[in-house]
C-alpha cells in the first residue's frame, strides 16, 4: 500500500513537473517555430499560428558561417572548464578539509574576484591584453574566463566537499594509502556529482558569456553570443536566423547535460558508504 501511494505521488509530481516544464518552455518552443517561419508572417497581427515552413533562415545562417562560431565557442568553453576543474578541485577540497592559516580570508578573497561588475573590468582587461597582445586569441579569452569561473567552481565545490565523510579518508590513510591515492580513489569518486554539476555550470557560463568575448575577441575568436548581434541589422532583427542560432547554441549543452547527468544522479551503487 505504501508503494501504491508512492506511485500515485510520483505520477502526481510528474504531472506537476511536466506542467511546469511546458509553461516555462513555451517561449522556447515558440522561438523554435520561428526557425522555419517565413519572414513575412513572423510578427503579423493577429498572430499566425499555422504556416508553411521555409528553410531560408538555415541557408542564411550557414552562409554566414555560424558553424565556425559554434566551434569557437565550444573550444573556449571546453578549455576554460577543463582548466577550472584541474585548478579548482584540489583547492576546493583543501578549503573544506584542512585548517589553514587565514583560511577564511583566502576563501573570501576567491569570491572577491567575482564581486565587481564585469562591465567595469572589461576596459582594464582590454588595455592590459592590448599591451600583451592577447586580444583575439584563444588563450586570452580562456584566461579571462578563469576570473569568474574559477572562483565560482571553488566555492561551490567546497560546499559539496563538506559532506564527504572524513572517516573514509582517515581510514585509508591508516591503511597506508598515500595521500594522492586517497584523493584519487576515495575523494574524487565521491565528489563526482559535485564536480560534474559545477563543471557543467562553468561550461555554460563560458559558453554564453558575451561582454568579454566581444571586447577581447575579434575576427579569429568570435564566439556564438558575439555573432548573434550581427543578426540585429538595420533591416530589422533577423528573428528566424536568431532563433536558429539560439536553439542550436542550446543543443550541445543539452547533450552534455543529458549525458553527464548520470554522474550527478546517485545510482544504485552507493559506493563505499556502508554500514
Amino acid at each position: 500500500m505504501h508503494s501504491e501511494r508512492s506511485r500515485r505521488t510520483t505520477d502526481l509530481l510528474t504531472v506537476l513537473v511536466l506542467g511546469y516544464a511546458a509553461l516555462i518552455l513555451f517561449p522556447v518552443v515558440w522561438m523554435a517555430t520561428m526557425m522555419v517561419k517565413p519572414e513575412a508572417v513572423m510578427f503579423e497581427r493577429p498572430t499566425v499560428w499555422w504556416f508553411t515552413p521555409t528553410l531560408e533562415h538555415f541557408e542564411f545562417v550557414l552562409a554566414a558561417g555560424f558553424h565556425w562560431h559554434l566551434l569557437t565557442s565550444f573550444v573556449v568553453a571546453l578549455a576554460s572548464t577543463v582548466l577550472v576543474v584541474l585548478l579548482g578541485t584540489p583547492a576546493a577540497y583543501a578549503f573544506a578539509r584542512f585548517e589553514m592559516w587565514r583560511r577564511d580570508d583566502l576563501f573570501l578573497f576567491i569570491l572577491a574576484t567575482r564581486m565587481a561588475p564585469p562591465v567595469c573590468l572589461v576596459i582594464p582587461f582590454y588595455l592590459i591584453y592590448s599591451k600583451l597582445g592577447l586580444i583575439d586569441t584563444y588563450i586570452g579569452l580562456t584566461i579571462a574566463y578563469l576570473t569568474f569561473n574559477l572562483s565560482f567552481y571553488v566555492w561551490v565545490l567546497r560546499s559539496f566537499c563538506r559532506d564527504l565523510p572524513v572517516e573514509l579518508e582517515e581510514a585509508a590513510m591508516v591503511e597506508g594509502y598515500p595521500r594522492w591515492q586517497v584523493l584519487r580513489r576515495i575523494v574524487l569518486p565521491l565528489l563526482r556529482p559535485g564536480i560534474v554539476a559545477t563543471a557543467v555550470l562553468c561550461f555554460i557560463f563560458a559558453w554564453n558569456e558575451f561582454l568579454f568575448a566581444f571586447m577581447l575577441g575579434g575576427k579569429t575568436v568570435k564566439t556564438l553570443p558575439v555573432a548573434i548581434p550581427t543578426l540585429i541589422t538595420t533591416q530589422g532583427v533577423k528573428w528566424g536566423e536568431m532563433a536558429i542560432v539560439g536553439i542550436v547554441a542550446l543543443v550541445p549543452i543539452l547533450i552534455v547535460v543529458f549525458l553527464l547527468q548520470r554522474h550527478i544522479v546517485r545510482g544504485l551503487t552507493l559506493g563505499a558508504v556502508k554500514g
Partner: protein
C-alpha cells in the same frame, strides 16, 4: 617608289605620313601629365601594404564589401573590410582608437562621436593627403559632396578628417494607398478643410495622424479594421536616436536648441518646451509600444502596416519597400522631414552624416586615404547603387543618375534630397552621448504622460548643466 622588303621578302606597308607626323608631334602637343590619374598609379608606392577598415553593417556597406576586391585588384593594397553593427562599431571602434591599440587604420564614425574623438586627439587630419596631387584624383570633386553635411561632420578648425561616405538621413514616410483613397480624401477635406496629401508641415502631419487613428472595427479605406490602427509612429525608446530626432526634427524647427551660441546649456527655452509639447502630443496617435520603438522597430512596424505615417531613417525604407520586405511594398510615399508651419526661420531635419576617419596610430595613412577616397568616389558609389539597386547618395550629382532618378523609389530619393538640404551634423560636444541619454529619458516620460514638457526641460537643464557648462571642445 619601290617598297622596302623585310627579311622574309614580304613587302612592308608604306607608313602613312600623317600618322608618323602625329606620332612625332603628339608628345609635344599633349600636356605633360598625359597619363590620367588612376588609383593604380597613385597606389604604386603602397601596393604591398594591407589595411584594416571598420565600418557599420547596413545594406550599403554589405554591398560595398562586394566591391572592395575591385579596389584590391586595381591597387594591390590588401583591404580587410570588417563590418559590425551600430553599437559594436562605436564601442570597438572607440576602444581601439582611444586605447591606441591601432588594430584599425580607418573607422566609421558617426557625427556625435566627433566631439569626443577630436577632444581625445586620435584622428588624423587628411588635408595634407588631399593636397597631395599624386594621391588625390583631379576628379575627386569635393564640391559634389553634400553640404552642409560634409562640412559639419568632417571639418574642424580648418582641418578635414574624412570624406562624406554615408549620408544617412530621416524622411517622412506614409501609406500612399491610404492617402490616395477617395473616401478618406473626402472625409479629410470635410474635417480639416484642405486636401489630404503627404505632409509638408508638422501640423499637417498631426492632422493626418489624428485622422487615421482608428480603433478595431472601424473603417479604413473601405475595409473594417481587425485591430487598432494608428496615425503615426515615432521612435520613443530611451536612447537610440529618439532625442536626436526630437532635437532636429522638432525643437530646432521651433527655433529652439539646447545650447546657446557659446555652448552653454539652454535646455529650458520656451521654444524647446513648445516643440516637445507638440511631439509628446503625437504619442496619443501612436501604438502602445512606441516607448520601446527603436530606430529599427519604426520601419519594421511601418512595414507591417501598423500606422499611417512615420519619421524614419531613409535607408531602412530601401529594405522594407521592396518585394518580400513588406506586404505594403510599393504603396509607400515619402517626403522630406516636415517643416514647422508656424516658424519662419531656418528649417531643420535629422541627419546622421558619417565619415571614415584615419586613426592617428595608422602606419599606412596613404594607402588608407586612397581607399577612403575610392569609397567616396562617384564611380564607386554609382557601382554600389547599381549592385544594390538602391542607395543613399553622398553626392549631389548622384541624384541625377538614372538609377535614382528613374527608380520606383523616386519619391524616397526626392525626400532624401530634401531632408539633406536642411540638416547638419551634431555639434562638437564631447559629452553629447551623456546628454542624449539624459534628454531621451526625459522626453520619453513626456511622451508617456509622466512629465509635462516644461518639467522635463527644467529637469533637463539641471542635468545637462551638471554634465558640462559650457559644452564645447576644450580648446
Amino acid at each position: 617608289m619601290r617598297r622596302p622588303c623585310d627579311a622574309t621578302g614580304r613587302t612592308l606597308a608604306a607608313p602613312n605620313p600623317l600618322v608618323v607626323g602625329l606620332a612625332i608631334a603628339l608628345p609635344w602637343l599633349w600636356p605633360a601629365t598625359s597619363h590620367a590619374w588612376s588609383y593604380k598609379e597613385a597606389a604604386a608606392p603602397y601596393a604591398v601594404q594591407s589595411i584594416t577598415v571598420l565600418d557599420e553593417v547596413t545594406p550599403l556597406q554589405e554591398t560595398m564589401q562586394k566591391l572592395v576586391p575591385q579596389f584590391e585588384e586595381e591597387t594591390g593594397i590588401e583591404v580587410d573590410y570588417q563590418l559590425l553593427n551600430h553599437f559594436e562599431v562605436i564601442n570597438r571602434g572607440q576602444a581601439d582608437l582611444l586605447s591606441g591599440r591601432g588594430e584599425y587604420d580607418a573607422i566609421m564614425v558617426h557625427s556625435p562621436q566627433m566631439g569626443l574623438l577630436l577632444d581625445a586627439g586620435v584622428l588624423r587630419p587628411i588635408d595634407d593627403l588631399i593636397a597631395n596631387a599624386e594621391l588625390t584624383s583631379p576628379d575627386v570633386d569635393l564640391g559634389d559632396l553634400i553640404q552642409p553635411s560634409w562640412d559639419t561632420v568632417a571639418k574642424y578648425q580648418g582641418e578635414t578628417y574624412g570624406f562624406l561616405t554615408w549620408a544617412y538621413n530621416t524622411v517622412y514616410w506614409a501609406r500612399g494607398d491610404l492617402l490616395a483613397h477617395p473616401e478618406e480624401q473626402a472625409a479629410f477635406k470635410a474635417k480639416y478643410g484642405y486636401d489630404l496629401a503627404p505632409a509638408e508641415t508638422l501640423q499637417q502631419m498631426r492632422d493626418i495622424a489624428e485622422f487615421f487613428t482608428r480603433a478595431k472595427g472601424e473603417q479604413l479605406a473601405g475595409q473594417t479594421l481587425e485591430s487598432d490602427f494608428y496615425g503615426i509612429l515615432l521612435e520613443g525608446i530611451k536612447g537610440g536616436t529618439t532625442w536626436w530626432t526630437v532635437w532636429n526634427s522638432f525643437v530646432r524647427n521651433w527655433g529652439g536648441d539646447i545650447f546657446d551660441e557659446d555652448g552653454s546649456p539652454s535646455v529650458d527655452r520656451p521654444e524647446n518646451v513648445a516643440a516637445i509639447e507638440f511631439w509628446g502630443d503625437l504619442w496619443k496617435f501612436g501604438p502602445p509600444g512606441m516607448a520601446e520603438a527603436s530606430l529599427i522597430d519604426v520601419p519594421t512596424l511601418m512595414g507591417q502596416g501598423v500606422t499611417a505615417q512615420a519619421l524614419a531613417w531613409s535607408d531602412f525604407g530601401l529594405g522594407i519597400d521592396r518585394e518580400g520586405g513588406s506586404p505594403y511594398a510599393g504603396k509607400f510615399v515619402y517626403a522630406p522631414s516636415p517643416a514647422n508651419a508656424d516658424y519662419g526661420g531656418p528649417r531643420s531635419a535629422e541627419l546622421e552624416p558619417s565619415i571614415l576617419i584615419i586613426a592617428q596610430s595608422s602606419d599606412a595613412p596613404e594607402a588608407t586615404y586612397l581607399f577612403l577616397q575610392w569609397m567616396a568616389d562617384r564611380n564607386t558609389q554609382l557601382a554600389l547603387a547599381e549592385e544594390l539597386g538602391a542607395g543613399v547618395p553622398n553626392r549631389y550629382s548622384l541624384f541625377e543618375a538614372p538609377i535614382f532618378k528613374d527608380s520606383r523609389l523616386a519619391s524616397l530619393y526626392a525626400a532624401m534630397r530634401g531632408s539633406l538640404e536642411y540638416g547638419e551634423a551634431k555639434p562638437r560636444v564631447p559629452q553629447i552621448y551623456e546628454i542624449n541619454d539624459v534628454l531621451a529619458a526625459l522626453v520619453q516620460q513626456v511622451g508617456l504622460g509622466q512629465l509635462t514638457a516644461e518639467q522635463a526641460m527644467a529637469q533637463g537643464q539641471n542635468e545637462v548643466l551638471s554634465i558640462c557648462d559650457p559644452c564645447t571642445l576644450s580648446e
